[in-house]
Symmetry: C2
Subunit: 202 residues, 2 copies
Amino acid sequence: MSEISKEKEKSILNAARKRFAHYGFSKVTMDEIAGDVEMGKASLYYYFPTKEDLFKAVVVQEQSEFVNNIESLLRKQISAAEKLNEYVEQRLKYFRDLVNLGALSVHSVFDIKSMFKKLFEDFEAQELILLGKIIEEGKSNGEFSNDLSKDFVKIFLHILQGLRFRVVKLLNEHKADEDTYKNLECEMKIATNYLIKGISCK
Amino acid sequence: MSEISKEKEKSILNAARKRFAHYGFSKVTMDEIAGDVEMGKASLYYYFPTKEDLFKAVVVQEQSEFVNNIESLLRKQISAAEKLNEYVEQRLKYFRDLVNLGALSVHSVFDIKSMFKKLFEDFEAQELILLGKIIEEGKSNGEFSNDLSKDFVKIFLHILQGLRFRVVKLLNEHKADEDTYKNLECEMKIATNYLIKGISCK
DNA sequence: TTTTCGACTTATCAAGTAAATTAGTCGATA
DNA sequence: TATCGACTAATTTACTTGATAAGTCGAAAA
C-alpha cells in the first residue's frame, strides 16, 4: 500500500470519526462518509471491508491512544497512589469519547450482538495488565500492603466499570443532567482514594 | 374491608408471587392467577386495580421484608464493620429475589417506562438512611474516621449498585455461568472490606 | 353492603408484508 | 493499484392484521 493510500485511509478514518462522534454508528451512511472525502462509496470498501470494520478502526484508534497515555503515565516518577488516580482520570476521558462515538449508548452496550464484544474483552485484559503493574509497583515500594488479595485489581476495575454503568443507565432514563459526569468523576476519585487507603500500609 | 377479604388479598398476593417468581411479569396472565385462587379474573380487579399494581404489591412485600431484616440488624450488638458486611449480604439476597420476579431483567431495568421508577427511587433513599445509620454508629464509637466525606454513604451504595449492574449486563450477554452470582458476592465482600479499612481509624 | 363473575370492550403484542433505504459486490476503467 | 457506476442483497421501517390478555360494567349472589 502506497504512502498516498495510507493518507487516504487516514482521511477516511478521520471523516468517519467525526460523523460517528456526531450522529452515532447507525445514523451515518457510507455514502455520507464517502462524500466527506470526495470519493465514491464503493471506494471506501477498498480500504475497509465493512462499515463495522471502519467503526472498529475508529474505536481502536481511540483505544491505543489511551493505552499510550497510560504507558507514559507508568514511566512517571510519582507514587503508585497518584498513578491510580491519574489512571481513573484518563480512563474517564477515554470512555467519554466512546460515548460520543455512540459506541457506548445503552443500546450498543446492551446489544448482545455488539460488534465490540471481542474488542472490549481484549481491552479489559489490557487494563488488568496496566493496573496490575501499578499495584505491583505499589507493593514493591512499600506503599501497598503485601498481603493484598490477588483479585484486588479485578475488583478495582469492576468498581470503575460498575460506577460508569450506573451512569449509562441514568442517561438512558433521562435522569442525567449536565453534571452527571462531573459527579461520576468525583465518585470515582473518592472511591479510589478510600480504596487506596484500604490497601495502603499504614 | 373484612378479615376474610384481607385473607383473600393475601392469597392472591401469594399466588401472584409464586407465578411471577417462576415466569416473570409479562408471562403471567391474570386468568392464571385467578385460577390459582379459584376466582374469576374480574374478581382480582376488586382487590388490585391493575396487573401492575398487583406486581408492585409483591415487590413492596419483598422490599419491606428486607428493610425489616436490616432494622433488626441495626439493633444487633456487633461492630459497624460487621454490620456493613451483613448489609451487603442481605442486600444481595433481596435482589436475587427481585431477579427471580423478573423485576430486574435487563429489559425492565432499561425500560424507562419502568413501573418501578418511583419504587426504586424511594428504596434508594431508604437504603441511604439505613447505611447512614451504620456509618454514623461507626463514627461515634470510634471505629470509622471522623473526617469521612459525607458523600461516602452514597458512593458506597453506588459501588454496590454498579457491581450488581455489571452482572446484569453479563447475564444479558449470556456470558454468565452458575457462579457469576457467587463471584459477585465475593467481589462485594472484598470491596466492602477494603473500603472499611479505608475509612477505619487505624 | 360487600364480593363475585360472565360477557363485553379495548389495548397490546407478535407475525407477516411491502416499500424504501443502505450495505456491500462486481466488472470496467484509468 | 485505486476508483467508481451500476447492480444485488440485506436491513430497516412502517403498516396490517389476528390473537391474546388487560381491564370494565352491570347484574346477582352472599
